[in-house]
């Protein structure tokens, strides 16, 4: 196959200054950005009408009413915003583009104005006064554009005095659009693949088995230890559910190797499952509880079928949100598993425990060629937990990194932890038809990376999310970094692990 020449981008990469400036409001600056619309077959495969239905306005408004009736979050959020503006400078997409519709409150208002028009007294009788609007073609067009410029990262909800979470609003809007037949190609196609083949890549079982075998050979060649990457082994203690990107993409695969090495050294028997060969659950992104549940139930089925005792998730942000926050709700109870461990567990929690118990032998100096920082993934930081204390999702990964390397430096405080910036590719936006948005949305993170690069000569940024890793590999070069400066946390762990000759 001839290599496709890299197309020159038709946009300008933002320039990084000395600190992140809040841009001036620039109306319409991202009005041209929208993802490909899904074809009929793709929508139908996951239970939605193929094309825009005839009476779409009516259907959409009815659906909106249903959603509000069934979600306290949505109802409270749509009613409560006081337009204080506290969230307006918090979204990375606004910071990167200046488009006013990328201010979280303005994004919510796209839905809120229609809600007010149809479901509130003030909006019915005094629409102009309270900014209520009809759902017409122009509005639908805006919905499609700007609800696909939100990565559902929840940063805005941290700063809103009422905790209004634009992610919930975006999910609702996308669900409404799916219901009337205006689905997004990238997400819906992927969900279809998971339903059909078990993973986002559409990788069938034999191909997966092959890949894992190849991986075993590679690792043995490199470190002369027979680290196993087992598939569908009944009776294993741990079933690992990991994003399918871990099977082949860089730098994800080095993370997978790291998990394998950890299990190997700790002597924990583990297996992957071909039935649940994917941790990602894009049902979240389109706000479809039905699809999310269907994808989650695979994991329960696989655990029962393989008779494992524990479920562990690999490095993936939104997957960990769905796993941590929703798996028990959607597919529990998991009373057939070993009750001494939380269900599910994050691989970071597993490694952290083993480190505390002294069951891993690490030589930090193996990573002395790197000066490392850590990118908190939005869904991990703001929508999940690790360990048994609030905030463990922020401290545990750092503990693990610090135990694996000598040079660790955090990025500026307001860009990490609960205030972390999304990579720019989350929430179902990791697709090349949104490249401009992804590059611009990465600006705040790139700025923070530049800061630690200049102050502490940081060379590498570690992450625990498949989407973050793919996104950064792609956008780092736009900002003058190298694509391999993004690494998996478990790559650091794997490289630091010491295997004695007889292991």
């Amino acid at each position: 196959m001839a290599k496709k020449p890299e197309k020159k981008p038709e946009f300008e990469t933002p320039v990084l200054g000395d600190y992140t400036e809040v841009p001036a409001v620039t109306p319409g600056s991202m009005d041209h950005s929208q993802p490909f619309v899904a074809k009929a077959a793709i929508n139908e495969a996951i239970g939605f009408p193929g094309e825009l239905v005839d009476n779409w306005q009516e259907v959409a408004v009815t659906k909106l009413g249903e959603l509000v009736d069934n979600s306290r979050a949505l109802r409270v959020y749509l009613d409560s915003c006081v337009k204080c503006g506290a969230c307006t400078d918090k979204c990375h997409y606004f910071l990167g583009t200046g488009d006013p519709n990328n201010m979280p409150v303005a994004r919510q208002d796209l839905l809120r104005s229609v809600y007010r028009r149809h479901y509130t007294v003030a909006g019915k009788y005094l629409p102009k006064l309270v900014g209520a609007k009809d759902l017409d073609e122009e509005m639908l067009d805006k919905w499609y554009k700007y609800f696909h410029q939100c990565s559902q990262c929840r940063r805005c909800s941290v700063y809103c005095p009422y905790g209004i979470d634009t992610a919930e609003v975006s999910m609702a809007a996308r669900e409404i659009m799916d219901t009337i037949g205006k689905g997004q190609k990238y997400c819906n196609e992927i969900i279809g693949k998971v339903h059909k083949l078990g993973n986002n890549l559409g990788l069938p079982e034999p191909a997966l088995a092959d890949t894992l075998e190849g991986l075993e050979e590679d690792v043995e060649e490199e470190i002369n230890v027979k680290v196993k990457f087992p598939l569908d082994v009944k009776g294993a203690e741990v079933m690992l559910v990991t994003p399918s990107a871990d099977f082949f993409a860089e730098p994800h695969i080095d993370g997978l190797i790291g998990y394998g090495k950890v299990f190997h050294q700790a002597g924990i028997s583990w297996t992957l499952s071909s039935h649940a060969s994917e941790a990602a659950n894009f049902g979240l992104f389109i706000g479809s509880v039905d699809n999310m549940k269907q994808v989650a139930v695979r994991i329960r089925e696989a655990a029962l079928e393989l008779g494992v005792k524990r479920i562990v998730f690999g490095e993936c942000g939104h997957a960990w949100r769905v796993a941590y926050s929703f798996l028990n709700t959607l597919a529990g109870p998991f009373d057939f598993l070993d009750s001494r461990y939380p269900v599910p567990q994050h691989i970071i929690e597993v490694t952290h425990d083993l480190m505390e118990q002294g069951r891993l032998k690490l030589d930090k100096s193996a990573n002395d060629d790197k000066r490392v920082t850590f990118h908190d993934s939005c869904n991990v930081a703001r929508a999940s937990r690790m360990g048994n204390k609030p905030g463990g999702q922020l401290t545990l990964p750092r503990d693990v990194i610090k135990a694996s390397c000598n040079h660790f430096f955090d990025m500026p405080r307001d860009t990490i932890g609960e205030g972390t910036f999304c990579c720019g590719g989350g929430g179902g936006l990791l697709t090349d038809d949104l490249l401009e948005l992804r590059v611009k949305g990465a600006k705040p993170r790139m700025q923070a990376l530049k800061d630690v690069h200049e102050q502490h000569q940081v060379t590498h940024m570690a992450a625990i999310c498949a989407i973050c890793k793919s996104q950064f590999s792609k956008v780092l070069p736009y900002y003058g970094f190298e694509m391999d400066q993004i690494i998996s946390v478990h790559q650091l762990v794997g490289d630091a692990l010491v295997f004695s000759a007889d292991a």
Partner: protein
């Protein structure tokens, strides 16, 4: 007339907000979505909510100017409201009497806060861009209430005794007439309007805050199955 208007708006307020609270309370919250790090216990959530309500924690993180203006306004309003209890209690409750000397500072704090918020809405391009006419009107309405109150406090003193009789009359349904003061009349009309529109406007943020799942949920989805009916797997296995 004024009595009737005040009664009417009070009824609308109570019924309207009551209906909304009922709606919020009965609308399901199918999934766990607290913004983390979040408390893992009920007591922790109470503490988190208390900090939000009293100190406006999240707003403090977000924007210091908005926080200070907004806090001044709300705190001032609270104290001013409490001071008004002296018209409704007889004999005046001890702590209300103690608070009374602060009422003018409370009113001034409201004024400063409101003007700050208004300025922000005009000056900051982002906030201007998200403001609807109703957002300005709301500020003017409350500014009008605060300003008319302060005017009576500092310049055009009204007959406090008569006002008290009027207020007592409202409580006992023995209507007294209002002292003939235009400023007082405006003050009360604006208050009545505020109460009337409360249930239909963004003032719903007050009850809304208490029902916001991102703030009031306990972070324990692994430990306790939330909403078991959703999974439907029940206690089997």
């Amino acid at each position: 007339m004024m009595s009737a208007m005040l009664y009417l708006s009070l009824v609308v307020l109570v019924l309207g907000v009551g209906r909304k609270i009922y709606q919020y309370a009965t609308t399901p919250a199918p999934l766990k979505i607290p913004t983390t790090p979040a408390p893992t216990t009920r007591a922790g959530v109470v503490w988190r909510m208390a900090r939000e309500v009293v100190f406006f924690d999240s707003l403090f993180k977000a924007s210091k100017p908005t926080w200070i203006f907004s806090w001044l306004f709300h705190a001032g309003m609270l104290v001013a409201l409490l001071c008004h209890l002296r018209y409704f209690t007889d004999p005046v409750w001890g702590w209300v009497a103690l608070l009374a000397p602060f009422s003018k500072f409370a009113g001034l704090a409201m004024l400063v806060g409101l003007i700050g918020l208004l300025a922000r809405r005009v000056v900051v391009d982002r906030v201007r861009a998200i403001s609807a006419p109703s957002d300005f009107l709301m500020l003017f309405l409350i500014l009008g209430i605060a300003a008319s109150g302060l005017l009576m406090r500092f310049f055009w003193h009204t007959d406090i005794v008569a006002v008290k009789q009027f207020a007592q009359g409202l409580l006992s349904f023995q209507f007294a007439s209002l002292p003939g003061s235009f400023v007082l009349f405006m003050h009360l009309i604006l208050v009545a309007i505020l109460l009337l529109i409360f249930p239909f406007s963004k003032l719903l943020h007050a009850p809304g805050l208490f029902f916001s799942p991102s703030r009031n949920q306990v972070d324990n989805p692994r430990e306790r199955q939330h909403n078991p009916s959703l999974s439907g797997h029940g206690k089997k296995a």
